[in-house]
């Protein structure tokens, strides 16, 4: 949110302008990372309900005022922590559409199985409901994860595996959505084949998607 309404709170995204050196003591660049790490650790030990601003501050060796200097409230810190956590997103390129999708589905499966990974989705859900941008968190998902997934299809098209009008967005949504449902169901229902073993689940989902994309796949 570059042209933010009120100038008093500069927020964590400030100081991005290259030349303009600010006056006063500069913000400690390490500090932000230290806090984010502390937040994730705190979460790991106490769960989301037990995640306290005081707790994060204490663990990071930071004053509470500093937290609120950078993030307007707990939600924003939360979002930043998760955002930071998922920053490492590598491209998928195994050489084939089917195996690429398997990698994607499998990594999502693992990601959501980890409570920290799952929290990311939880936050997106909250954000979607409240109408808040939640610190631009969604931009990360839509700006990093989704493009990475879409690139899989672009490469498939380039290789001649699929026609250019393949509904990539839909398939991405299907894969993400189904994995979310798997993660949602896990705590309750481990029987009945709703949540089969991971490898089986991934295989069947990809089978289904390949069949669904049939009309757009070339014979080769």
């Amino acid at each position: 949110m570059p042209p933010s309404g009120r100038a008093l709170i500069r927020g964590v995204d400030a100081e991005t302008e290259p030349g303009t050196r600010r006056r006063g003591r500069p913000r400690d660049p390490e500090l932000e990372q230290r806090v984010l790490t502390a937040a994730v650790q705190e979460y790991a030990e106490r769960g989301w309900a037990g995640l306290t601003m005081d707790g994060v501050a204490r663990r990071a060796g930071v004053g509470k005022s500093t937290l609120y200097l950078r993030w307007p409230d707990k939600d924003a810190l939360l979002a930043a922590a998760v955002k930071d956590m998922g920053a490492a997103s590598q491209a998928i390129d195994t050489g084939g559409l089917r195996s690429d999708l398997e990698v994607l589905a499998r990594s999502l499966h693992t990601f959501y199985a980890d409570p920290t990974g799952w929290a990311m989705t939880r936050i997106m859900i909250d954000a979607a409901g409240s109408g808040e941008q939640l610190g631009g968190f969604a931009e990360v998902v839509n700006g990093i994860y989704r493009p990475a997934a879409l690139a899989v299809f672009e490469r498939a098209v380039a290789r001649g595996e699929a026609r250019p009008d393949i509904p990539a967005q839909l398939v991405v949504n299907v894969v993400y959505g189904t994995e979310i449902v798997y993660a949602m169901m896990r705590p309750w229902d481990e029987k009945e084949g709703v949540v089969p073993d991971p490898e089986e689940a991934v295989r069947r989902l990809v089978d289904f998607c390949m069949a669904g994309m049939g009309p757009w796949l070339t014979g080769q």
Copy 2:
């Protein structure tokens, strides 16, 4: 939680035994509905973050002790409210698998578009993360919604439209999951075809699923 550990709290499910008439003043039968309605209204006005036990009690004209007499904590009340809200779940039976799936997808799309409906998913997500049963809320989803959706496939098999080993669970997950992703994305991304207009979105999702189920569909 039928065989609840502690006997002090009888909970909202108590008094189901037919003959045993309890001594003392009987519970007000209207009250429960009044509270649940108040909770939903309170949510509609203030959002989930602003949903307060005191607020619900005040709006329902009820003492806080009464709330805790019936629901063990806020989560349970929340779950009950949403559960009550979604109680009206009718069977889907249009006579054809494709049109049944369209009805299912379309009703989910509408349901998630409504903030109250979306809240239901939000609660499930929260519950899945915290490891809590959230007052048996998940049972409703897995016990009512999912069976209603699975029945669609049973009828298709009965009609001879699909083979008995059709992966019904997977398709249900795909439809639910994709609609969840649509709902998640809505606030941010109305362009690029990620969230197309509802009717188009439903049609394309069902097309995809029908193609994905191809191997299990009979020629007829």
Copy 3:
């Protein structure tokens, strides 16, 4: 402040109407005293600067919310604590004006020497400066201490020791004021006769007052 403007906050003076039994759980009558005592103890151990609402709450075994339910803020609690502390004010009646004044001056001297007693004056000074009523604290001083001192002169008049137009208010002010100055000076100046030993100080002050009142004293 009986007909207080806003009815939402009832304050500590509420519930004085005899017949009207309030609804809801009644306030714990011991609690108030427990808190006040805790406040004084906390002060004794940590000094006024170290007097914390959390500290008082913890020592009294009370929630912070309860403190703020009864006293609007720290100043009010402070005032109440000191007020409560000085509630025990006994009449002075030795049978003679001179000896009565000596008792008054001596008790003030001792009172101000004690840090808790001195705090009372400190609060009055603060209150006078801020223009606040500080919880009606001043009423105690002007309603209890001053009348008790004035009674000394009334009795002297009744005994025929002094004429009825004796400037009692002035003399009371002189005694109080001079003792305040003694207390103020004590920490710095123990030499030069500014603050002589207590007994001497009292005697000389009373001597001075008796001489000052000369015109209003009867020969006997």
Copy 4:
């Protein structure tokens, strides 16, 4: 605090040695006065509770570090501000003890009526209670104001109006103390003759003191 323990803070009294020209940028001579004025203004607008170091710094157009370079803490700045404010203390010499006392009492009365003047007493009270020296503030009072008042009696003795053993300290205390009580009572009690009109109050107080000093006054 000339031989201050820690050498890091040179304090406001530094640089008094005549010849020793320091290295580096010299201290801005106006700055100190600007800060002190800002402190008094800030007090006048917001009251003592609202007196903030940041606020003073901002109003004086000064960095906070500069404040702490010259005064060790808030109390010291406070003391310096009040001290500076009352620096203008002129000798009293009307030619007669009685009229001198009237001038003294009247100027005290006016001084305490002004909130800034009253603040000075408030600070002394605080200082006396906390056991702190409050930046040597008391020295000012005992070193400037008191001698000025005592000089009145010295001159009276020199003129032959009073005997040398007149209890000057006591009378000074009486005058100061009584005026303090007047100032304390003002906000609450404007009736009953506790706080009569200024001129009357002064006259009666001096009358009383003159009578009290009777034994030490010469016939002349």
